[in-house]
């Protein structure tokens, strides 16, 4: 498995609180992605990064922000968590420039917003 870790793995929080999820990689891949997985929707892209401090929005970016201050870490922040953000969050990495065209996924973070 690719060297991708996510923390925390499980979190329960209350509506209105800020939450930060961390993705850490040891593969030096250029691209990092955050997805949410919900039943019937597959994986939906929240934000992605194509380099340090270079990020872009995905299809479900409202209510989420990201930051990437170094290659190995990609943070996802829920500014003010809502119950609709209860989901499983997956981080992924890729690096087409080095031949890694496919994505490698982290183990996921299960977030529950009460």
């Amino acid at each position: 498995d690719a060297g991708i870790t996510q923390s925390p793995r499980h979190k329960v929080t209350e509506t209105g609180t800020p939450v930060t999820l961390r993705c850490h990689q040891t593969e030096n891949h250029r691209y990092m992605y955050w997805y949410r997985q919900d039943p019937g929707h597959g994986l939906r892209l929240i934000h992605y990064s194509y380099g340090v401090k270079d990020t872009d929005k995905g299809e479900v970016s409202d209510g989420y922000s990201v930051s990437r201050s170094k290659t190995e870490d990609f943070l996802l922040t829920l500014e003010s968590a809502t119950s609709s953000q209860t989901s499983v969050y997956f981080c992924a990495i890729s690096d087409p420039g080095r031949g890694y065209n496919e994505q490698f996924f982290g183990p996921g973070t299960r977030l529950t917003v009460l």
């Binding site: 992605y33 597959g42 892209l45 065209n101």
Partner: protein, 111 residues
Amino acid sequence: AQSVSQHNHHVILSEAASLELGCNYSYGGTVNLFWYVQYPGQHLQLLLKYFSGDPLVKGIKGFEAEFIKSKFSFNLRKPSVQWSDTAEYFCAAHNFNKFYFGSGTKLNVKP
């Protein structure tokens, strides 16, 4: 924007039956295509990928997929499924730095 459709949401098969899961994508230009598998409680793992060349792609665990450009399809097949193939399967397409996933097909293989 690209979109990926998987029309089979839930498939139930007996062991040794043949499998075919449908996948259609919307973009008509150059696109990379993938099938991922997610076993219960785990993350997504790559089964196979298509970039160019031979449209019949072989992956791990006996899976294969056929790229048919004229039909915008990339269907996944396996001649004989096993109970251990019980999982959710996702088709994905990649272009312009983004990956687009289908909604997934849950496969339940009865022993």
